[in-house]
């Protein structure tokens, strides 16, 4: 290159850069803005987090949480360390609640149906219009003298919100509040009331027990109060105060909880109650039970002899005897019954059997056993009603007895068995008002949507049930301003009530739900001695309570005797195992639909974190599957990941196969929660929904659907499967990754067969 050219190039470069920089300085947009506060909020320092105590509503357990707020946005949900249930801990669903708050698929404001029912074609309207429309409909109905044709379908509404809704319904003149959740423990409440006469769900003291016998209670992922129970579980194992507790799980399928058990007893599906009573009989016969009513117990339990039980349950005689021996000799011991015993056609009987077992072993009312909970702060228990259930609503809708339906936050079109035909029944209802925040299968059927706040945007409270042995009330406060044009459900009720007028208006003394809540708590404060003793004025009490996250008083724990009498339980004891639909020759396999930690009854399916969270046992993401024992799989000619057709007498679904050692060869299991037809972009059109092929069998005592109530058959289909698992091996390949030590002398080695 010639020097001249080189110099020319350099020159061009230099001048270019220089001009470019000047040019840049002259015309470049000035860059980032620095937007100050207009008026600085008192307690906000930019970039520093504030924590507000509130309540988690992702499941009915009622954990107290702390929400981390930075610059007006919710960043993280953590357990409230002061709260007696959560104790600073939180489960997957609780933490993922944030993605429900900031979900892109939320209903963003009031909407009115435009197209045909179920077409999801809605047009936005204003709140005034929406309230006006609902009011007109209500007035039309009451003008016709058909006030009682108003139905309100809701999950259990905790605390004062539930009370307000009841007031509204009563004021309007309808007694048709239908409470429904796929997992709402109606069976448990019914069984406890029938056998022990208690209204509130008792405290199962896993923490202090030394021998836990669980009948299908999946407390590590979903049952009752997963956080509280898991905390207890950790302490039971390595808390150090009493030595390591032993844990035995009875369940046809090795669930997440059973995976942690020292022993897994895969009894035949539907026979768990028989097993529990056989163990109880062993205990009574051994002379461990010293009650004066020994004779009547012996008589009641006499049909449950070892040979009968062993034959029915498919559990070895020696093993039943061994469990009975350990259960009565280890003090204290505790038996709990979850979905795996209550989810049958005779669910109540199973739970009664568990109570009997606890009674004869002497576990009622003791530390490390079953402790009664006192009534909540209302003086009664809001959850004691085992009133009309969802089946009542479906029947009423079919017979056109429903004139107007209010619907909030549960999704019966998805969570009821296919044969119950809930969606078809709801189409008979002339006008449906939905208060849901998401456009799910049921909300899509509604005529008008008045979307309510999530728990992060709303006021509320909850009387924790089950409480940990003493009264716990948790308060929910708005921690962020509402993301969309939604409203508090309490405010909606107050708005409608005031607009309707009459008694409904009279029942709404306050203008907003926030003031209503505070006023209601003022009344509680005046009534409750513990509260009024804690601070001089209500204002300080209220401030402290909000900062703490609620009110609880360990001193309010009252030791109460609990017992089960033969007279009260006799009618619930039956020798027969649970019934299953479908002849065993045609449909050889039991079907167990079960709740997965992330999705519960399907409500977690629209949360990306939970979709991408591998199932703890199968490690599958973004999908559902059918669990099949390797022996059965071999017989059917299916391999891991193959697509299979699962057919019951009520329909069929397609699902990829997961070959799993931890399930009985005569049983298959499918998790609930996937394949929403509607529910936002993350939930839709993936996996299989086992509920579609279930019969509408209910336990007639409680109207609770029996999830485990049908047999199925399985056939391979040629379509390729697309199961995505996060694991590669299920074996350690001898690398000693999870090392173990034997249980040693803490308790005698159990007899494996």
């Amino acid at each position: 290159m010639k020097r001249r050219y080189f110099l020319k190039f350099i020159g061009a470069g230099g001048i270019g850069t220089g001009l470019g920089m000047l040019f840049g300085q002259a015309i470049k947009p000035p860059g980032a803005k620095l937007i100050p506060y207009l008026i600085p909020p008192e307690d906000v320092i930019p970039g520093l987090a504030n924590y507000y105590a509130s309540l988690c509503t992702q499941c009915p357990a009622g954990c107290g949480v702390l929400v981390k707020i930075m610059d007006g946005r919710a960043k993280k949900v953590e357990g409230n360390p002061l709260h007696p249930v959560s104790g600073g801990k939180l489960c997957v669903r609780g933490q993922a609640g944030l993605q429900a708050l900031y979900n892109p698929d939320r209903v963003q404001g009031p909407m009115r149906r435009k197209g045909a029912r179920g077409s999801t074609s809605f047009e936005p309207i204003s709140w005034e219009e929406a309230i006006g429309e609902v009011t007109t409909r209500l007035n039309d109905l009451s003008a016709k003298g058909e006030s009682d044709k108003l139905y309100f379908l809701t999950p259990e509404l905790g605390g004062h919100l539930g009370k307000l809704a009841d007031d509204f319904m009563a004021g309007y003149g309808s007694s048709n509040t239908i409470k429904y959740d796929l997992f709402d423990y109606r069976n448990l409440r019914y069984a406890n009331r029938a056998s022990m006469g208690i209204k509130a769900i008792p405290h199962y003291d896993i923490e202090n027990t030394k021998y836990l016998l669980s009948f299908g209670a999946d407390f590590a992922s979903t049952w009752l109060s997963p956080v509280g129970m898991s905390r207890g579980y950790g302490e039971m194992r390595q808390g150090g105060h009493t030595g390591r507790g032993k844990f035995v799980q009875v369940e046809p399928r090795l669930s997440l909880t059973a995976a942690n058990a020292d022993e897994w007893v895969p009894a035949k599906p539907g026979t768990e109650a028989v097993l529990a009573l056989a163990i109880a009989k062993e205990i009574v016969d051994s002379g461990h039970y010293k009650g004066s009513d020994l004779k009547t117990w012996k008589k009641l339990l006499s049909p449950f002899g070892l040979s009968y039980a062993s034959e029915v349950t498919d559990v070895d005689k020696k093993r039943i005897r061994h469990i009975a021996k350990e259960f009565m000799s280890t003090r204290p011991s505790l038996a709990v019954g979850g979905e795996g015993i209550s989810g049958y056609s005779n669910g109540v009987s199973g739970l009664v059997a568990v109570n009997i077992l606890n009674h004869v072993a002497g576990n009622l009312g003791i530390k490390g056993g079953v402790q009664a909970n006192s009534n909540d702060l209302f003086g009664g228990n809001d959850a004691d009603t085992v009133g009309a259930g969802i089946q009542t609503l479906i029947n009423a809708a079919k017979e056109s007895k429903v004139g107007l339906l209010f619907h909030y936050n549960n999704n019966p079109a998805f969570t009821t068995p296919g044969s119950a035909k809930a969606a078809d029944a709801l189409k008979n209802v002339p006008f449906i008002v939905s208060f849901s925040s998401f456009l799910d299968e049921t909300t899509a059927l509604s005529d008008i949507i008045l979307p309510s706040h999530t728990s992060f945007e709303d006021w509320g409270d909850d009387f924790t049930n089950p409480a940990p042995g003493f009264q716990v009330a948790t308060i929910m406060q708005p921690v962020v301003s509402s993301v969309y044009k939604t409203r508090s459900l309490g405010d909606i009720f107050i708005g409608i009530g005031k607009a309707v007028g009459g008694t409904a208006k009279a029942k709404m003394p306050n203008d907003t739900f926030a003031t209503h809540l505070k006023a209601s708590w003022k009344r509680l404060y005046a009534k409750d001695k513990g509260m009024s003793a804690s601070s001089f004025t209500f204002e300080t009490f209220w401030r402290e309570t909000l900062a703490r996250g609620g009110w609880w008083n360990e001193k309010s724990a009252k030791k109460r005797k609990l017992s089960v009498s033969t007279r009260s339980v006799a009618r619930h004891v039956s020798k027969e195992p649970a019934k299953f639909e479908g002849e065993s020759s045609k449909y050889p396999l039991y079907l167990l639909p079960y709740a997965q930690a992330g999705h519960l009854d399907g409500r977690g399916a629209n949360i990306p974190w939970l979709q991408e969270l591998p199932d703890p046992i199968t490690s599958v993401v973004w999908d559902s599957w059918v669990e099949i024992n390797p022996k059965t799989a071999k017989r059917l000619g299916v391999k891991m990941g193959d697509m299979a057709e699962i057919e019951s007498p009520f329909g069929k679904v397609l699902s990829p196969v997961y070959v799993y050692e931890g399930i009985r060869p005569d049983t298959v299991a499918i998790p609930i929660g996937q394949v929403h037809k509607l529910y936002g972009r993350y939930a839709e059109k993936r996996g299989a929904n086992p509920l579609e092929i279930l019969p509408s069998t209910v336990d007639t005592r409680t109207e609770v659907y029996a999830l485990n109530s049908t047999r199925v058959r399985i056939a391979k289909v040629s379509r390729p499967g697309d199961l995505v698992k996060m694991d590669v091996y299920t074996d350690e390949l001898g690398r000693g990754i999870v090392q173990t030590v034997p249980t040693g002398g803490q308790f005698k080695k159990s007899s494996h067969h």
């Binding site: 930075m70 946005r73 919710a74 993280k76 949900v77 953590e78 357990g79 600073g88 801990k89 939180l90 997957v92 933490q95 993922a96 900031y102 892109p104 590590a220 992922s221 997963p226 956080v227 898991s230 905390r231 579980y233 950790g234 194992r237 390595q238 390591r244 997440l256 995976a259 942690n260 020292d262 897994w264 930690a597 990306p608 974190w609 979709q611 991408e612 969270l613 703890p616 046992i617 993401v621 973004w622 999908d623 024992n629 390797p630 022996k631 050692e661 399930i663 972009r681 993936r686 995505v724 996060m726 074996d731 350690e732 000693g736 990754i737 999870v738 090392q739 173990t740 030590v741 034997p742």
Partner: protein, 262 residues
Amino acid sequence: MSGILTKLKDKLQSYRVPGYRTKFEYKWTMVVDLDRCNGCEACVVACYAENNLPVVGKRDCDISRRFSWIRIERYIEGEYPDVKVKFIPIMCQHCDAAPCELGCPVYATYHNQDGLNVQVYNRCVGTFTCATYCTYDVRRFNWFTYKWDSPLEQQLNPDVTVREMGVMEKCTFCIQRIRVAKDTAKDEGRKVTDGDVQTACMQSCPTDAITFGDLNDPNSKVSKLAKSPRRYRLLEELNTDPSVIYLKRVMDEKKGHGSSHG
């Protein structure tokens, strides 16, 4: 002469012998009690929320692009009906002799003064060497710049960088929380004390299986737990000298399955 040699040797060894970092102010350590862990995965979601981990979708999960800094591995052993399942949470082990640190050509991953194995995003050029060298498969690579569907991005933690395409990342022991604790401690003119720092996974764990703290403090909870007879470290025979200590699961295993050496 021999005196000088010994001194030299000591000097050299002080940089090679595991545990040399005791001379530093803190030695962050995690203890995971496998007998408490019930595999519920609360820690995994906590980590997603705290550290701005993106959700990649089903297809990318299938080709191992899932971002979980902490994962629960589970092993299913035995045949029906004698099935045993074992869980273990695995996150970056913050090895004192970390293989990943040897590989990085641009020193984007190195050991800091608190015994943490750290990853500097703005240095990383994405050679993938560290992930290849890692014994525990805990490093995650940003194949794309992941997006959050609005308004999900409002949840992102401003204390943690949102990583871009071409950068390697992994568990940091929630260093942003360590920094907040140090900041507060400095204001109050003291050292960080036990319990000041909670990692997101530890905080959420319902069974209290995870404990985090300073091993240099003899009175800390981790120091006490680290003396447990159930103590072991993951793949210790590889001499990576991890900062994560596991406590063995108490369980009667059938003979022939797994092993409890160590």
